[in-house]
Assembly symmetry: C2
Homo-oligomer: 445 residues x 2
Amino acid sequence: MTDKLNNLSQTSPNSNKWMIKNGAFSVQDGDKAVIRGYMVIEDDLISYIGEEAPANVEGIPVIDGTHLFFMPGLVNTHGHAAMSLLRGYGDDLALQVWLQEKMWPMEAKFTSSDVYWGTSLSVVEMLKGGTTTFLDMYDHMDQVGKVVEQSGMRASLMRGAIGLCSEELQKHKLAEAIAFAKDWNGKADGRITTMLSPHAPYTCPPAFFEKFVQAAHDLDLPMHTHMSETKAEVEQNVQDYGLRPVAHLEKMGMFTRPSLVAHGVHLNDEEIDILASHHVGVSHNPGSNLKLASGVARVIELMRAGVKVSLGTDGAASNNNLDMFEEMRLAALIHKGVSGDPTAVPAAEALRMGTIYGAESLFLDRVGVLAPGMKADMIALNTDQAHFLPHSDLISHAVYSASAKDVEHVWVDGKQIVKHGACLTLDEERIRREAQAAFEGLLSR
Amino acid sequence: MTDKLNNLSQTSPNSNKWMIKNGAFSVQDGDKAVIRGYMVIEDDLISYIGEEAPANVEGIPVIDGTHLFFMPGLVNTHGHAAMSLLRGYGDDLALQVWLQEKMWPMEAKFTSSDVYWGTSLSVVEMLKGGTTTFLDMYDHMDQVGKVVEQSGMRASLMRGAIGLCSEELQKHKLAEAIAFAKDWNGKADGRITTMLSPHAPYTCPPAFFEKFVQAAHDLDLPMHTHMSETKAEVEQNVQDYGLRPVAHLEKMGMFTRPSLVAHGVHLNDEEIDILASHHVGVSHNPGSNLKLASGVARVIELMRAGVKVSLGTDGAASNNNLDMFEEMRLAALIHKGVSGDPTAVPAAEALRMGTIYGAESLFLDRVGVLAPGMKADMIALNTDQAHFLPHSDLISHAVYSASAKDVEHVWVDGKQIVKHGACLTLDEERIRREAQAAFEGLLSR
């Protein structure tokens, strides 16, 4: 593999058209899931994919795609990147012990510098693992925006606000969320988009939550929140508001905005119908839901009802990696095992959950599929490895056999970000060192 | 990492004592799960692990273990290595369609050459992914033995016999199983051990099954079989023999031999007690059980009853990789998610399932843990990567964040088999080519 892509680096700075030959491309297009042949990229867009050699490509740089499988970049629709600093800090604990004794005391100490290095660590892991777009809901979001800008990655960012505090602090958080959403929407050459994101119905009093809905209307932005992750949280919602979370969010007006909810583990049939009728997306986080013992989301029923289900890793403190291949595989495996139906969530559907459904759930309309006119956000897997053989079905191999480390190259907006497994835009070595130091700093103060 | 281990290659052929310094070692020893310091290896055995520099090591080769996490090699207690040739050939199908229309017609065409190359492909994948010992139940077992011998890997091998055939063919299969078990036990410098293995109670009439029990007594060997993988199979057993599979196997005398059963998905409380009372091990295959929608084994209850539960990948046609890190992670995740108990199967326990419990389940008494006097079957993970940071808890990272491709080095019997991710004993490139050709050959005839 070593020198296949070297001619890319010889591309002159003015050249904005290049081509891949001998590649296998995941086009997820009806009967023809994989096309073997050529792809042409012009600036940030794909302009051609086909078996036949394209016209008008004389003299443009050519990459040999032999043994590479090109897929759309993966889209991670729920997470808290800076929490990678707490990876492995408190596993296998009851949820409340984990939150109250481990996560919250440490997170309360997070400075903007911690968020910067924690997010950088996650961005390196995600990019190298083939994720080209991620959603991030956290605090100190300017730092997150900065990392995204530097990295070349695409992201949907939002200040996640918990409203269990004084009215004054609530006001401050709301103002911060609005300012961030305004200032950063469309930044980084359009790679950053923003949402409004009250943390969860159980952490935001209705009056506070409704202010976010109003702000989303004012700014014409979509909304995101945690919803129905645990059974206890659903029961609490009924006790506090006389409604289950879906009806509660509907009542507060959230679903009058384009919306994405994270988790959606504990849903009844009626709630699934409400989500479907409002076109609310669900970010399914199988790894995190299993590890925190939240349960198994009703993904088969959600998809049957027409709800768009995408995939998220959640934070690395409850996963504990940010490998979207693993989330695709978990989605394909657990719903078969738990339902008893081996045809549930087939490989191609799991791949769509990790790519196009994710892009649509983040309201990105030119991302998530390899086709002419779409953004050149793509990854190349090295298929010249034992676990990719025989070359019977590359879509199956990508979902059932691949992992983050099979990713050889990554492009976003047509620009190469990862080459032969190394990140070109960020100083990986420094990020590892600073992230370790940040963790030690959190422990010591 | 690149040149850390280069001094190993300078070891003189007569040198049989070498040392690792600056390493982190998984010792799984009560409070002290990880020791940072030194390890000394003499011939095939570990002779020292400790924080203090060892005595009498002047002039011996020294490896710098900085950024490496040394663990016992992983032990895969159930599989059919040659089935890697059918990876991705028929996914997401109902079990009977998958077996009858996809697997069986192709497997009927397998030649000894197919088994040789398919097994080689699996052995390359397993070794590079940190598995140092595997169980293999298949046909053409001489070929499997040959691959194991060449590879330097450790294995428990057996001719799996299906008895749904003429009495003459039954006789032939039994004779083959006995001859293989006799001839190969202790081969490859003792790295190969053998078992007797009727395929399953639902594929072996009692008279045929009992001949294997008798042979196991005669040869003083342990036994292995598939058991209670699907609900339908359990119901069929009750219909055919008036007994559920555990009582049926007990009645046929299998448990009078040291025994390991694969799957054990559908077990009632009484059956769990019977397995515990006979010290029968269960090879839990979470990936395969989920993918084939067989269900979720009652691992929490099995372990609570004192049954030894180890991990297996099953064949690559139903997994679809042979990554034992993934099996450890699945075991740690799904039983939390399905039971609702986040403390179920903690990381250290999942690691034991993938190492020491596996070794004990294959009746290997000096394998599966890093300690003086134990075999130097070990692997080194590269921890200088984003998904291993911060270095909060290496055991947690190995289970919840690592994958096959984090394995940098592998040793079996003190001999290095994988170095910087490359297999030293087998011709990987040729194996990939031949495996692809074998698959194409199966398709074409």
